[in-house]
């Protein structure tokens, strides 16, 4: 058992553990932190797989972006200190069972599946060729998705602005509350 293998298992143990904590932690702020750690662990996994570029993106976008966003929203919506309401035990159990079953099911499928073995050709993606390929219009060029995503981001941005913008009218039209029940 080589060193890299040991490293791999450590990383996976770490990210899974933190992941579990992230979805079970009582306090929401802690949960966010655990999530962050778990994401970092994933980045580490990418490093281990020698896809540094992805690892970098992971760090930048997730750790630097999303988690921060989440934390901000936590601050916006509630005081982070207080414990979150516990989910009903029955629900927990049921969810656990369902999830375990699903996981087992998937794993057996994966286990039983024969994967194509590659011809051992080296896998060395450098940031450079990723960049060129990203912007090339030729075979294996990803310019179109790139543009599309940009449009999507634009739209998402506009949407967020409209929705989340603090607007002068804050009184909630209450009639619906009665009318629904």
């Amino acid at each position: 058992m080589s060193a890299s293998a040991i490293i791999f298992y450590c990383i996976s143990a770490f990210l899974l553990g933190t992941g579990i904590l992230a979805v079970t932690a009582k306090k929401i702020f802690r949960a966010a932190i655990w999530l962050l750690l778990s994401l970092v662990g994933i980045a580490a996994l990418y490093f281990w797989m020698q896809v540094e570029f992805i690892a970098a993106v992971q760090i930048i976008v997730y750790v630097g972006g999303i988690v921060i966003l989440i934390i901000f929203s936590i601050f916006l919506t509630q005081q982070s200190g207080k414990e979150m309401p516990k989910p009903a035990l029955g629900k927990q159990l049921f969810a656990a069972l369902a999830v375990l079953f699903g996981a087992a099911f998937t794993c057996t499928l994966i286990y039983g599946n024969w994967f194509f073995q590659n011809d051992g050709s080296a896998f060395k993606p450098t940031v450079g060729d990723i960049g060129t390929q990203m912007l090339s219009t030729t075979e294996h060029g990803f310019i179109l998705p790139f543009e599309v995503v940009s449009m999507l981001l634009l739209a998402a941005m506009i949407g967020c602005i409209v929705i989340a913008m603090k607007s002068n009218q804050t009184t909630i039209s209450s009639p619906e509350i009665k009318e629904t029940n």
């Binding site: 058992m1 992230a22 797989m49 999303i66 919506t77 896998f123 929705i163 989340a164 909630i172």
Partner: protein, 104 residues
């Protein structure tokens, strides 16, 4: 380092995926639900990268897919959070069980 078989990486990602799913099923706080979804997406990313690296290294499809997933996840998270904030304004709560006016 090929003595770590692909299988194991897939197991890890699967586990992560279902951890996320568990979170989604049980967490009542919308933001934490969002976190769980992020976890699931990440596990998918791991899959793609692993596949690309282990099985089909001659092309970079998996890598690019990962990149785009991450981007989209960001957009999704942004919109989701915006919606959650708006919902918080109207409901004074982000507990998913408080937002069940419409049913049956």
């Amino acid at each position: 380092m090929n003595e770590v078989p692909l299988m194991h990486i897939l197991f890890v990602s699967t586990a992560l995926f279902f951890i996320g799913m568990y979170g989604l099923f049980t967490r009542r706080n919308m933001i934490t639900m969002l976190m769980s979804i992020e976890l699931m997406l990440n596990s998918v990313n791991i899959n793609f990268v692993a596949f690309n690296k282990y099985l089909f290294p001659e092309k970079l499809d998996g890598i690019f897919f990962t990149i785009f997933i991450i981007t989209i996840a960001a957009a999704e998270a942004a919109v989701a959070i915006a919606i959650i904030i708006n919902l918080y304004r109207s409901h004074q709560s982000i507990d998913v069980d408080d937002a069940t006016e419409m049913k049956f």
